[in-house]
Amino acid sequence: MYDDGSNEILQGCNCGGKLFFYIKKSAIEKKEEIIKLSQKEKKQIEEDIYDIIGSQIDREKPIVLDIETIKILKPGKYEIDLVNLFKKQPLIYKLEEGKYVIDLIESFKKMSEK
């Protein structure tokens, strides 16, 4: 687990990983169920996320996935927060040279309009 704005999140983990799940502090305090995943499952989830969020994403840059909107419990098991998705809550936060947020749904929409 890494703190907001940590070097790992901004530049990627030493292990090579650039995809992070956003976990609210309140969820950690509540000690919500933590699912243990094997290395293979983690890799698979990472690949699936890249497939879901689109090939436009630059894999070289760190990405924080907002798990409030899409929860991936295990490969092939998804929970979707429709209320927030309809509200156009950003699906992912993309970090690039510092911190800023791109609303993926909006940016996709703009792309499709071109």
Binding site: I52, G76, K77, Y78, I80, L82, V83, F86, I105, K109
Partner: protein, 210 residues
């Protein structure tokens, strides 16, 4: 004389504009409600060809499908629209459900991933719609989070809605129950599979889009 000519010209341009306008009509709803079956029926009726594959296994449509320039006619009126068939909207997608329905593990996991992407795409497309046909399975409980969220959002966005209770050919179908769940809309009971009551459906389509 000049006045009549002016009126005729204005009517001509208005009609021209009307014909050029492409109404985008979206089919939305939970998985396996019969969206693609209805899309196929509409396309078959007016274009003579089907739109997409249907299956008993849920989440068969996982990508947005568009059929352009469908013109329907009724009582000397015409309506031309682009029909957008969307993937089923769900809150939980679990590959194990697909395994139970006969798919192999790898296939089931891929289907789950594509179905999740489909939900995101369907919601993303909502703002592009001029009107939406919500297709519910009338033999199932209408009081679900998915149905309430979809319909609530369409209402909030002021998108005209045509609410369909599909599968009235099934014994368990209960249009009254669907109607009482969403009293703000008139529910049209149809069977997209067998073509029952489609005249009413087309009539209401004119009402919500014109």
């Amino acid at each position: 004389m000049a006045g009549i000519l002016k009126r005729l010209l204005s009517m001509f341009f208005r009609n021209l504009f009307k014909k050029k306008k492409h109404v985008k009509l979206g089919l939305y709803g939970p998985p396996n409600g019969g969206k693609t079956t209805l899309a196929n029926k509409i396309c078959k009726d007016w274009l003579g060809e089907e739109m997409g594959a249907v299956s008993n296994i849920s989440h068969e449509t996982r990508e947005i499908q568009i059929k352009e320039e469908i013109t329907i006619k009724s009582n000397s009126r015409e309506l031309t629209f682009n029909l957008v068939d969307t993937p089923g909207i769900a809150t939980k997608i679990d590959y194990e459900e697909f395994i139970k329905e006969g798919l192999k593990e790898k296939e089931a996991k891929t289907r789950a991933k594509e179905a999740t992407k489909g939900v995101i795409d369907a919601i993303k497309w909502l703002d592009d719609m001029d009107a939406v046909i919500v297709v519910l399975d009338a033999s199932k409980d209408p009081y679900t989070q998915v149905n309430i969220t979809i319909i609530g959002n369409l209402e909030a966005r002021d998108i005209p809605v045509l609410l369909i209770g599909n599968k009235i050919d099934l014994k368990k179908a209960d249009i009254k129950k669907v109607q009482s769940a969403f009293p703000q809309y008139e529910v049209i009971g149809i069977s997209a599979k067998y073509g029952n009551n489609l005249e009413d459906f087309y009539e209401y389509l004119f009402k919500i889009t014109t």
